[in-house]
């Protein structure tokens, strides 16, 4: 029951916040008041659930806001402003949500501030939950959020905000994985659904589809002991077929609109992988075509690195290596891709060296361990006396 209540609370957060702002509260004070109301709700609702949850939250948050007004002067000034405000008419809730998304991902904010503010004001997470998820002290996150609120305090948002910034902010949240009690992947998907419901834009649909298609394979990507499982070795029966079907349907509806963007192209690649019953049945030729589309849409050199892997699968490892050699070898994960292609080409000694080099440059523990195992597997094959043949990695 408790979890259900929190879910409802978080869904209602954007609308309640917008009502307070429309009544004349400034954003920072309104946001604080809504947080206080949420905390009160979490405490009181299990014993005394309200009939009208949203009405209850608006009433309590508004009272909190008024309590927060310190001096009579400040209050009078605010009340003057409230009198001048038009009464809140029947404005659609989707507009509230969109307004809040734009404000929380305003271009004047740094990416980490935009992420924190979005999770709190749109997502309804508490500061403690956000701090836990990002592994920083709560005091630091308090400051990060209050700075962000000060930064956007004067923003009028008369003109539409940048949907691209909002989408990138959600993608950052999605990529952060999860730690602490909040699953940021699930939260990012929830927020992307909210955004897709508030705005009619093929790239937002592409982003949602991309998230669903990635998320569908989550259970197969790591073993019980935390090890990474490469795509070719993943147990495809663990893939969530209903999420894949939903992602594909959303993507197809977006592609028909003929306004291609990066997220749609990435989702198309993810869909082709999700659609294959085995690695061997993967349509690499079409995947390569999508990488060419993606490369035309973005300057990001990492796309070309991924493309080299696709070339390796579609046209053979030699062609993949040729594509790779055209790129800057200082790119992150260049060595890992080179190792993979050299191994596919049969040059196991070079591959082992490159896997070891890639492991030294890895940015996460899981990745480093995986690459070290790859190097160890090839090295122990080369000198079977050294390591046990039933060695750590069974992928050989």
């Amino acid at each position: 029951m408790h979890a259900l209540d929190e879910d409802l609370l978080r869904r209602l957060t954007p609308a309640v916040l917008r009502v307070l702002v429309r009544r004349g509260a400034d954003f920072a004070a309104a946001e604080d008041a809504v947080q206080d109301a949420l905390i009160e709700a979490i405490r009181d609702w299990p014993d005394a659930p309200p009939r009208d949850a949203k009405g209850w939250l608006i009433t309590v948050a508004w009272r909190k806001f008024l309590d927060g007004a310190r001096s009579e002067t400040a209050r009078r000034h605010r009340e003057d402003r409230i009198d001048a405000e038009p009464s809140p008419g029947p404005i659609a809730e989707r507009d509230d949500t969109l307004w809040l998304f734009f404000l929380c991902a305003h271009p004047s904010l740094t990416p980490s501030s935009a992420v924190a503010l979005t999770l709190r004001a749109v997502g309804g997470l508490t500061t403690r939950q956000i701090a836990e998820a990002y592994l920083v002290p709560e005091a630091t996150m308090v400051q990060r959020i209050s700075r962000a609120k000060r930064t956007v305090a004067g923003v009028r948002l008369d003109e539409p905000g940048s949907l691209g910034t909002v989408a990138r902010t959600l993608y950052l949240i999605f990529n952060e994985g999860y730690s602490g009690e909040v699953d940021l992947v699930a939260e990012a998907i929830r927020l992307a659904r909210l955004l897709a419901g508030a705005v009619d834009d093929p790239e937002v649909s592409g982003l949602l589809a991309l998230m669903l298609l990635h998320h569908a394979r989550r259970a197969s990507r790591t073993a019980a002991d935390g090890r990474l499982v490469p795509l070719a070795e993943q147990d495809r029966s663990l893939w969530d077929t209903s999420l894949i079907a939903e992602g594909v349907a959303i993507l197809q509806a977006a592609l028909v609109r003929d306004r291609l963007g990066e997220f749609q192209a990435q989702a198309a690649i993810a869909a082709l992988h999700a659609d294959a019953r085995s690695t061997a049945e993967t349509d690499w030729v079409q995947i390569l075509q999508w990488y060419d589309e993606l490369a035309a849409l973005t300057e990001n050199p990492v796309v070309l690195l991924n493309r080299a892997v696709a070339v390796g699968e579609a046209d053979g490892p030699r062609a993949g290596l040729a594509a790779l050699f055209e790129l800057d070898d200082s790119l992150p994960r260049y060595a890992a891709v080179a190792a993979h292609l050299h191994e596919a080409d049969g040059d196991r000694a070079t591959a082992a060296q490159l896997y070891a080099e890639a492991a030294r440059k890895a940015s996460s523990l899981a990745e480093r361990d995986h690459l070290t195992r790859q190097a160890a597997r090839l090295n122990s094959e080369a000198s079977p006396g050294r390591a046990s043949p039933s060695g750590a990695n069974g992928s050989g």
Binding site: S112, Y134, T140, R144, E176, V302, A336, A339, S364, A366
Partner: protein, 145 residues
């Protein structure tokens, strides 16, 4: 949004620009340096970039396993060690450039004669938490951000 460790050394780092041992500074110079360090940490907390900070005693002991059922071997204080860490600070910043900027600022704290110490700090990225992967990342077994 990446975390970095700033390592400060008692010994083992290349010589500072203003290379005067702290016991030869004036008391005011020491106070000014300490204030700089405190103000730096406080300011990072207010920008939402502070994660952790600890100072370490120069005293310590080398310890190793000495076989089943035996007490660990100790080799006394590591007075002869080349590299002696004085403390650390962990920051959480948006870019590598910002991490460099902050490390430079910390290194430039006031020292003897009121001039910046210009000590060498080690700047090391922390491993990131598990992340979502893309397909090609999954093929070569790497996580991608």
């Amino acid at each position: 949004m990446a975390k970095y460790l700033l390592l400060k050394h008692y010994r083992g780092a290349p010589a500072s620009v203003n290379d005067v041992p702290m016991d030869q500074w004036t008391e005011d110079e020491i106070s000014a340096h300490m204030q700089h360090m405190d103000a730096f940490a406080t300011r990072l907390e207010s920008t939402g970039e502070f994660v952790d900070s600890q100072a370490l005693s120069p005293e310590g002991t080398w310890v190793r396993y000495d076989g089943e059922g035996r007490p660990p071997v100790t080799d006394g204080p590591f007075a002869e060690t080349k590299d002696l860490i004085a403390g650390w600070m962990i920051i959480d910043v948006d870019t590598y450039e910002r991490a460099l900027e902050l490390a430079g600022e910390l290194s430039g704290g006031p020292g003897a004669g009121g001039k910046p110490v210009g000590e060498w700090l080690e700047l090391r990225p922390l491993f990131v938490p598990p992340t979502t992967m893309t397909e090609v990342g999954e093929i070569v077994g790497q996580e991608q951000r």
